[in-house]
Amino acid sequence: MISFAWLIPLFPLLSFLVLILSGKKLKTVSGYLASLLTGISFIFTLGVIADLRSVTEYEATWTWLTIGTTDIQAGVWLNPLNGLMLFIVSFVSLLVHIYSLGYMGENDRRATYFAYLGLFTFAMLGLVMSPNLIQFYMFWELVGLGSFLLIGFYLYKESAKRAARKAFIMTRIGDAGLLVGLILIFWQTGSLSFTEIFQAVEQNEFAPGMVTLTAILLFIGAVGKSGQFPLHTWLPDAMEGPTPVSALIHAATMVAAGVYLVAAAYPLFLASEWALMIVAVIGAFTAIFAATIGLVQDDLKRVLAYSTVSQLGYMMLALGAGGYVAGMFHLTTHAFFKALLFLAAGSVILALRKQNIKEIAGEGRHLAITKWGFLAGTLAISGFPLLSGSFSKEAIFAALLEDGQYGLLGVALLTAFLTSVYMFRLYFMVFHGKGADKPPKSVPVSMKIPVIILAALAVISGFFATGFADWLAAEQEYAVLHHSPTWLIFLATLLSLGGIVFAYFIYVRKQMDREEWKTTFSSTYTILYHKYFIDEFYQNTIIYSTRAISYLMYYTERYVVETIAAFAAGMVKEIGKTGSRLQNGRVQTYGTVALLGLAVIVLIFVVRGGYF
């Protein structure tokens, strides 16, 4: 089975090609076709994973390009980490496809939508199977393209176009870092293959300081893709896309790509104390930073988006603190419960036609399955005992404790508390309240099934922690699952439950008046509500200065360059015109031209005393 692994990304590609070329004719069956192909891809993935238990590592490459003495390879690379990512990507993608059958309903452009989903899935599957950084980079950019197309899917909406552009440009900043890192790595090692890079790291082939530098540059790429501070602002805006896309981007694919990059290049990071430190600090800061913003946002999807940013910060924090297994485990559980939350939120939005939680005000309580699914996801993300999130978070805390990062541990614990507060605020405001009592639109079955499956996984996946560690440990010796002391488990649980109770008192029992809080801490509230004014900061600094430079360039181009160009073109044109006028067929004209030529030659001869 494993030798057919290269087929896995090709099915979504096939789906993309078929739908983009003949989507208009296949309108009604387009979704089923795309789901079927993604399903085949998922089945292949399962087969590959079954093989991976015995093989552990598999690499099949062929030479793609030969430049000088360097061969650039293309192919597939499979190890437990890739297998895990393949599973998450193809599984969530399949569920999103099924969910989209209902969600996109009778949308006229659904064939295009499914085509884009196929392209996106293809890119992501190709990305996690890349054996070298150059192939990785290509798929990485394809992922960016896919996300751009999907976020901007509602292309008649100005905000969607803007968001798509923003996502594309913000991630591009990170990509530039990745590209520079990639070139530096090639310069240092002469190879871009992951395995060869790791060997080079082991044998200290890097120049001093270069390991840190390349690791940080790769991390900049990950920062862009995974929405870490300071390049996080595109992620909440990406909510303009259809909700299943948000689930796909936020849970399984695009944002996971950054974390995957750090995990895949982990030996490089391990070799540099500083790089790890930076990863951890950025992760921790992003986690708490996004969590505080999430506390006050009013848009259902936006809160989820900030929780994603925060959880991604957790993953980075875990990786930076040496908690490789913890980070990847959190990525896995997060994939399940965040996909669940988004899909449930999508059901709410589709049924109620609104997504501001103040307007919803509890109207979601009539959607039974959605409500229970959302509750499961919320409990999981809040770290409620025995649900998946509690296990993965506890692993992260343990890793931090092991690493001796007590400050970061404090931040992480505080974030855990905040997470449960804002998630339950969201839950209570959507599903508990006295909003209008009209029965909402029913939700199609195809949207309920993925929610149920994901809810089940969000609840139980935490119990596989040990097996998960063993699975990853088969390949990498640094894959160790840390176990935390009892007091830490107790503390984490307490914080999580405390957050839930806190939210309950504010938002259900209304023990504290929210409006009063707003006035008391008005400045804090304003800052949080405006997301620390990061967008405004970018607008006023980078965008304006860029715009100023652009205008300068524009006018330079318009008045200086174009004048020169017009002059050059005009000169050539005039010469041509003169030339064509000379060809008038009259002997005397020709004779005159010949005479002038003679005169010039004679003149040169006289002046220079010879021919030049």
């Binding site: 060809q583 008038n584 067929g585 009259r586 002997v587 005397q588 020709y590 004779g591 005159t592 005479l595």
Partner: protein, 104 residues
């Protein structure tokens, strides 16, 4: 015995040549163009004869060559006039500006 310097003949030839050239390039009447060309040939003949007397190695060859040249010039004039007549019959003009079939 002081005689006319050789340069005098050469400069006269040069002046005539230039006038002939100017006429050949600017006159509109084809016959005048032809005759201007004859004038240029004459200037060249004058050079040949002058060199036959004042050259580095003066001898009769220059005069002989000028005779040949005059012969060829006469033949050229005859053929030129014949072409002119033929053209005139076809185009009804001797105006050289209207003879622009080289363009086509």
């Amino acid at each position: 015995m002081s005689s006319v310097p050789a340069q005098g003949y050469l400069i006269l030839a040069l002046i005539l040549f230039c006038i002939g050239l100017f006429g050949a390039l600017t006159k509109r009447n084809t016959i005048i163009v032809l005759i201007s060309i004859e004038l240029m040939l004459n200037a060249v003949n004058l050079n040949l004869v002058a060199f036959s007397k004042y050259g580095i190695n003066p001898n009769m060859t220059g005069q002989v060559f000028s005779l040949f040249s005059i012969t060829i010039a006469a033949a050229e004039a005859a053929v030129g006039i014949a072409i002119l007549l033929s053209l005139y019959r076809n185009r009804r003009t001797v105006h050289i500006d209207e003879m622009d079939t080289l363009k086509h």
